[in-house]
Structures are given as structure tokens and as C-alpha cells.
Amino acid sequence: MGKEKSSAAEDTGLYDYWPYRDRPKITWPGGKKLAFWVAPNIEFYELNPPTNPHRKAWARPVPDVVNYAYRDHGNRVGNWRLMEVMAKYNVLGSVSLSIAMCDHFPDIIDAANKLGWEFFSHGIYNTRYSYGMDETQERAVLEDSIRTVEAATGQCIKGYLAPALTHTVRTMDLIAELGFTYTCDLFQDDQPQPLKTRTGRLVSMPYSLEINDHYAYNVFGQSPAQYTDVLKRQFDTLLEEGARSGTVMCIPLHAYLVGRSHRIGPFEEMLKYLDAHRDDVWVTRACDIADHFIQHHYDDALVNIKRGGQA
């Protein structure tokens, strides 16, 4: 079983400190400075989920009509708007997928698949949490994810974002063992880097909570125009720093938020802005970023990290 993990720890044990200076230079394909990807979360929240002893699913007693309907808007309206707008600017999605969506709304999955979007696992439902699962149960969720997405899309899942960001101390070991190449669950960096797992080669892929539409709209209360401004600033800084060593920018989205009629127009402004900078930006999918990093930069990064960041 390898190293033991308990329920108390001082840090995640997943990576060593690695300061953001003098790192081996990352070069993206075509000499681009910034790898840019978009992560639409395509989610299903159940009306009557079973109870997890560690986390409540809904703020109100079941049926929480207001909050359920709020999210269902994405599957009736928002996903379609978002797909159309992203396709207009030739931006592919890397979908953080509630796997049961393949069963509930195959039309949405088929449409995204036809556009060339990638799918990675975001759990079976966003109302089923990993907290309290033993290794067999968590493995079953991951194997279900692989099986279901392969059957629905022909794709082999390469990435993970735990459902509702609920983890166990075994999560990273399990996804690495099952052949996943990246996780979006960690927020310690703006560049990909190797993670310490029992087996495999697993990369920490920059995602974001800070520029996640959920945080922007519902936690920080940003207007659609303010959010676009935030995205442009994030883009400007990461593009500038990418001249030194390649950076990654991810825009994590939820169609039930960004797909609203008052938000999709201002969001389109960000895609126009991206379009004007294409010469310097690798607009791609998360799996491609992970593959490129593993093939060209993983080993150098590992050596540099082991030296404590000394060249």
C-alpha cells in the first residue's frame, strides 16, 4: 500500500515548496507564452441526494426548489449559449463533468463532444461528496467515470476535479494509479508541476477559484463587466510573465451563471480580447497542456524541485 496517510497532517504531502523564480523554462508549442484553457463545469445536482454525514447538499430542506432550479438553468439554457459563443471564437472547452450528465442529458454531451471538447471527471453528481469514502468506494467512482465517458464520447478521461471539491487523502494516489495525467484540485501555482503520488505521473494543473465565475458573481458580487475586466487583468499578467517561462490561465465557468442573458455578452468580450492575442497564446485543452508538460518539462521540474529550486 506504500506510505500511510492519516486524518491529521501539517500539509497535503503532495508537493514540495518551489519558489516562483529561476525555474526551468517552460516553452509551449509554437513558442507561445501562455497556455489558455476554459473549464465549463457541466454539472447535475440531484433534487433528493442521499445524505453525506460530512456535508449537507442543499441550504434548504429537500426539495430546495430555488437552488435546484438555479443550477438546472444551465442544462436547459446556459450550456447551449456557452457552446455557441465559445465555438464562435474557436475556443475548446475542457469539461468538468458530473458524469451522470451522460445519462441524463446525452444531447449536451454529444454537442460538446462534436465541438472537440475534452471531458474530465467531476464526480458522478455534484451532490455526491467524497468525504467519508473508503478506497474501494472512491475507486468505484473513478472507474465509473472512466467507463461512462468512454461509452458516451469515446474519450479516455485524463483529468479530475473532485465533486464539489471534496477530497480524501487517497484521491491523488487513486487518479494517478488509474492513468489520469492531471488534477485541477490544487491552487498553489500558476504553472503545472509534478505531484507526489504512489504511482504514475500526475500533474497539478492550474485551475482557479479567484477567477472562477462562481466566486466572481456570487462571492465577490462582481458585475459581468467587472468580471470581464478581472479576466483581462489576469490574462495580461500571465501573458507578460509567460515570456520568462510559460504560464497557464484557466477560466472555470458554470453555464448556469455565465450563460445568463445579462452575462454571456460581457463574457464574449473576453474571448474577443483573447482572439486579438492569439499569436502569443496557446489556446488549448487541459489534457494537451498536461501531455506537453509531462513530455517536455516534467523531468526537469522534478530535478529542480528536488534541489530546492536551485538551478
Binding site: P50, P61, V65, V66, H73, R76, A100, I124, T136, S261
Partner: protein
């Protein structure tokens, strides 16, 4: 210890929804709706007229706006009452000046307590839609069916005593039990606004029509919950109009829903913001301002 085995069973993992309240549907694959006069965007303004009793309920759901301090919570009670005394009259004046009419979601307790308010809202030509008994009478999953039926009937009976027969309904706090839409259908309600999962009306299995409640543009959510500035609220409403108007050209009539709260938008420092929004919308030639029932009936006629 592991989770119970049931936690990895998915009894409703199937095509469509995980319940039978309504079928799933892609907005962009439905028949195109034509509004009267060939207008592109139906403007649906709703105003919540709510009574929050000084003693709040002890149930599992307390409505947003309910009392918060130990009894007697004069500050919350009077703040809400301000909306029903002052704020609503400001809103009515602004709408009249703009030439628009609204739909009032009214607790029946207000019809009983403030019949003058009911008369004035009717006199303004607004539609009266039922909003339950009061904000303590919240419908929720643990409410026994007979009790919920009695609450619905008590509300509709009170309005009937004032010669009002509401066709529309909004549950207090938009909270429901599993059988709310069925009970509303049995009570003769034609449409309800609890479900915010669409941009257009759609039919519930119970036969009641779900009208698209847009909580994301609600004054209370934007200005109070999220603490946005008034200009930001205005901008978002107008951005929504812009998008819907363009979308309507390809996909048929759309609805711009603006949900207003008298104790929020009716404040002196905010009312100008409503005037601004309605002033801009008043200049659009492709808008049809209509009541909930008018929109619902036009949709029903056009979607079959």
C-alpha cells in the same frame, strides 16, 4: 468507516430529470413564440408585496426578510413595512410615468390587513398574483399535504373575499414541497413563478405553467445580497435586454423579467435607478410590457 453502500447507488440516473415534476427541454429547440404585435421581448415586471409577522415561524425555512433579532424585532418589521407603505407607491408612480404595468405577488395577509393597498394596486391596472398567506407560511418538504392544501386555499379564499381571483402564484420564499405544483393545479392556479430554471415558460407535469423567474436580476439579490451599486444593477438589466432582443430574432420571443422589492428599490436613493432602467426600456420599439397572465396565455397559445 466507509459510507453506506447506498451512497454509491444512483436510482434516478436515467435520461431526463431525476424527478417527474417536468420533462427536460433545450430552450433552443422549442417552437418559436410570437408575441402580440411581433414584439421580440416581453417585459415582465413583478413586485413582491409581502407581510413578515413580528413573530417569525419556527419551521425549517425562514423566508429572506423575516425577523432576525430577539423579539420584538422592530427594525426588521418596520423596514419591511416601509416597502408596503412608501416604497410601493414610489414604484407605482415610476411605472405609471414610464407607461408600464406590473404583476404584484401579494401575500393574502396584506389584502386582509391593508385593503387600501390592494385597491390601489388594482387601480393602477396591475395584475394581482397570489403569494401565499404571509411570509411565515412557507411551503416546504416536511409540510403535511393537507396543511399545505389548507394554506393555499386560505390564501385564495382571502383574495376571493376581496373579489380577486388570482391566476398566478409565487410561493413565499419560492419554497415548495414535492407536491406544491400538483396542489396549485387542483386549486385552479394557471401559472407559478417559483422555478428559475428557464428563460421561457414551460409546462409542468401537473398542468401548471412555470413562468421564468429571473432571480439573478432581482433588486434584492443584486443590491442587498451581493451589495452591488445601483448603476451595476441597471447595466445588467439592460445587458440582458440587449442579448434577449438579438436572440429573439433567431429563436422567437423572449422574456425580460425584472423582480422588484418595495423595501429595496423603493428607497429614495434607489428609485432613480428604476426610473433610469424603465426610461431606457421605454425607448425600445420591440418590447411588449405585459402581466404574468398575458405572457403565460400568449405563450400557451403560441406553443401548441
Amino acid at each position: 468507516m466507509a459510507l453506506d453502500d447506498d451512497y454509491l447507488r444512483y436510482p434516478h440516473r436515467q435520461a431526463g430529470m431525476d424527478h417527474s415534476l417536468y420533462p427536460t427541454s433545450n430552450l433552443f429547440e422549442r417552437p418559436k413564440i410570437a408575441w402580440p404585435g411581433g414584439k421580440k421581448v416581453a417585459l415582465w415586471i413583478t413586485v413582491a408585496l409581502e407581510f413578515f409577522p413580528l413573530t417569525p415561524n419556527d419551521g425549517p425555512v425562514r423566508a429572506p426578510g423575516a425577523m432576525v433579532t430577539p423579539f420584538p424585532d422592530y427594525r426588521t418589521f418596520t423596514t419591511k413595512d416601509y416597502g408596503n407603505r412608501v416604497g410601493i407607491y414610489r414604484i407605482m408612480r415610476v411605472l405609471e410615468a414610464a407607461g408600464f404595468k406590473a404583476t404584484a405577488f401579494m401575500n393574502s395577509a396584506l389584502a386582509r390587513r391593508y385593503p387600501a393597498l390592494l385597491g390601489d394596486v388594482q387601480g393602477a391596472g396591475w395584475e394581482i398574483a397570489a403569494h401565499g398567506v404571509d411570509m411565515n407560511h412557507v411551503h416546504h418538504g416536511a409540510l403535511p399535504k393537507e396543511e399545505e392544501r389548507a394554506q393555499i386555499n386560505a390564501c385564495l379564499d382571502e383574495f376571493a373575499a376581496h373579489n380577486v381571483q388570482p391566476k398566478g402564484w409565487l410561493s413565499p420564499a419560492r419554497s415548495e414541497s414535492h407536491q406544491t405544483s400538483q396542489l396549485l393545479a387542483e386549486a385552479g392556479v394557471e401559472w407559478f413563478g417559483d422555478w428559475g430554471n428557464d428563460d421561457m415558460p414551460y409546462a409542468f407535469s401537473s398542468g401548471v405553467t412555470a413562468m421564468p423567474f429571473t432571480d439573478e436580476l432581482e433588486d434584492r439579490k443584486c443590491l442587498v445580497t451581493l451589495g452591488q451599486r445601483e448603476e451595476v444593477w441597471e447595466e445588467q438589466v439592460l445587458d440582458a435586454y440587449d442579448w434577449l432582443s438579438v436572440e429573439a430574432a433567431d429563436h422567437g420571443g423572449r422574456i425580460l423579467h425584472i423582480a422588484l422589492t418595495p423595501y429595496v428599490i423603493g428607497q429614495p436613493f434607489r428609485i432613480q435607478s428604476l426610473r433610469n432602467v424603465l426610461g431606457h426600456l421605454g425607448e425600445k420599439s420591440d418590447i411588449w410590457c405585459a402581466s404574468g397572465t398575458e405572457i403565460c396565455e400568449a405563450w400557451c397559445a403560441g406553443s401548441t
